[in-house]
Symmetry: C2
Subunit: 397 residues, 2 copies
């Protein structure tokens, strides 16, 4: 009969998508201008011109057999050479092409990283608030996901919860900085402290605890924010990257897994990846886009617009009485909801004001809500009076 696990998953509602659908339907009924949709984390700035130019150049100049041909399981060697050159230049790292696996986005990279460093039944630890897809990613690899409670004062790491929870069965810790949904960036201090705890526990347990660092927002880092390159601070780091946000290419499924050159059994981890691909149906990243991201390495979409939106929202919303930790990157912010029940709060905003917000509950952090401000700045401006009216409704509660 049909698969029971996936059938069971159908019962969990995809709340973000429901809100987005509701917004779309409403926009069709009452007009787009009357709906304030901050539900989806979809880039609002186009891919930079160099992307389409590179695609056009590739199809007009390269032998189509070579261009569209099978890429090696680990990725096209010259692509990986270009990418590590750019990485090493920016972060002072010392990757070689052999440390890289080209993947279908960060989801593909995480699917490989999680499976390589674990055995079924083992545990993965992550921190709230976290991306809601971590649960299926981790459980789909046959592993158990533990989401530790947030430090809601700073959205840095809740170290007490971490030390209380680490145990021999933990294969890896999964982090996401800059963070979806909070927009928070882990500071050098945070990462150093995390590294030192993990190194101590590695000695105690006699085996590596890998750090899987999910970094699709790495290049949306706001001015002056302390956001270290995480693999530089912890040896056993597997970095998962996607070009979805930095080049605004979410539909093209292109990213990579970079295994720190000093990582314990790092060569073996990379060697396992093509075997993992054989079992998951991931047979390489799209060849044209491998070449495109290599040839545009170091170039970005117009990312500063996200910081402009953030400043506008942050300054105004805190003025209106919202409490929010200031984001250091991404295109998200994660204020406290104005009533304890954030699902009820988001429903109220949606129904009364056509303002689409996502309750923190689905990120493992109730009492907050996510604003995805990857929208045109004039839509942010248009929404400000709405946020004000919403705050006034709750004033004195």
């Amino acid at each position: 009969m049909l698969n029971r696990t996936y059938t069971e998953m159908l019962k969990e509602k995809d709340l973000i998508f429901e809100i987005f659908q509701y917004a779309r339907q409403l926009a069709a009924e009452i007009g787009r201008d009357q709906v304030y949709d901050f539900s989806l984390g979809n880039p609002s700035v186009p891919a930079p011109e160099c992307v389409n130019q590179t695609i056009t150049d590739l199809v007009s100049s390269m032998d189509p057999l070579a261009l569209h041909g099978y890429s090696p399981g680990l990725g096209i060697p010259e692509v990986k050479a270009d990418i590590v050159r750019d990485l090493n230049q920016r972060y002072g790292s010392s990757y070689s092409p052999a440390n890289l696996l080209m993947t279908a986005g960060a989801a593909g990279a995480l699917a490989h990283a999680l499976r390589a460093v674990s055995n079924p039944g083992e545990e993965i630890i992550t921190f709230a608030p976290c991306f809601s897809e971590y649960k299926p990613y981790v459980e789909g690899a046959g592993l158990k996901l533990t989401i530790l409670p947030a430090d809601t004062e700073s959205f840095q790491i809740n170290f007490q919860a971490l030390t209380d929870s680490l145990n021999e069965n933990v294969a890896a810790v999964l982090i996401n900085s800059p963070n979806n949904p909070s927009g928070i960036v882990y500071s050098t201090d945070t990462v150093r402290r995390l590294a030192s705890i993990l190194e101590e526990k590695e000695k105690e347990y006699g085996h590596p605890i890998y750090l899987i660092s999910d970094e699709p927002y790495r290049d949306i880092l706001f001015k002056g924010v302390d956001g270290p390159y995480i693999a530089n601070l912890y040896r056993n780091t597997l970095t998962c990257y996607s070009y979805s946000k930095s080049l605004s290419l979410p539909g093209e499924r292109i990213g990579y897994l970079a295994v720190n050159p000093d990582c314990a059994m790092g060569d073996r981890i990379i060697e396992l990846c093509p075997q993992i691909s054989r079992t998951t149906g991931h047979n390489g990243a799209p060849a044209l886009f491998q070449r495109t991201v290599a040839l545009t390495a170091g170039q970005f979409a117009d990312l500063p617009v996200y910081e402009e939106n953030m400043e506008l929202l942050y300054q105004t919303l805190t003025e209106y009485g919202y409490r929010c930790v200031k984001p250091g990157g991404t295109f998200y912010m994660f204020p406290r909801s104005l009533e304890p029940d954030s699902i009820a709060f988001c429903k109220y905003a949606r129904e009364k004001y056509h303002l689409m917000l996502v309750p923190g509950d689905i990120f493992g952090c109730p009492g907050h809500f996510r604003i995805a401000y990857c929208v045109p700045t004039d839509r942010v401006k248009a929404a400000l009076p709405i946020f004000k009216a919403l705050a006034q409704d709750y004033a004195g509660c």
Copy 2:
């Protein structure tokens, strides 16, 4: 510690790749003309011009945000509409876009099909000779693969073995016609007989037995060959297609899963697919290539050259004394080896004549060897005297 299953898989040698590597090294040493490489199933004809033209048109005319944006989990609706229109026109089928999941190649389609219609521990039956990757595909989904012995006289289905093996625990039968490695196409009679056996067993067991039809070579069908559209002959068919061969786009990872409109619980199967994607890291097929294959629907690479190569090889090799069932499609043929040990035979051909052949053992069918004649026709011609000399070495054995 690192994953034991994938580590174990490293011990199985990838013989095809080893032969290919050996050929490459040899070519560097003694010159390309001295090596006769029939090891890899990689298209030898380029993508048709309409592919690159379509890509250029898309990047120059479409809003980049829409072009490169996230595609819905099941694929872009207008893409699916174009594809089913073409399918229905060619095969008289009645697919609607809702029956389709766009995937990263046939591997992605198989990963979804296998997981949707089964529960861990269940059995999948396939027939030798078969694609060597079926084992990791099936076992990676937590299932058991049973490879039934070939009918080596015709390479149609060994029905005795099938009726002996069917049991209540069988979730699906997996077929591949036109077949890699034999090049054989299942006839209307074969598929009808298969359908009738499965329908009878479905009644007996009281549950569907799905037919997963892996069809990356569907459009490389030789003149006059009886090759029915399989889903038309069995209700519970899930068709897995790839554009890798028909449009020579193997590196771009684009294909689809089509669930027969009359398939038992077909809507639910499609509904499960995005849930499966969430657990395997398959987050949609590349958007640009979804649009490209839709806009070039019904167009193909120069596929008739494969038939030309086949005729040349088949006529000449049978003249030289090789015994071979004549292929009806693909770019493979699968003659008997000239000694019972096909591994030894291929090694001899490789070492004495620099002729690269793949032993049938890895396709579950020892005593045969695969010729992948997706090479320029002049390379086929150049190899004919080599095949002759090889046959002469064995004459009188």
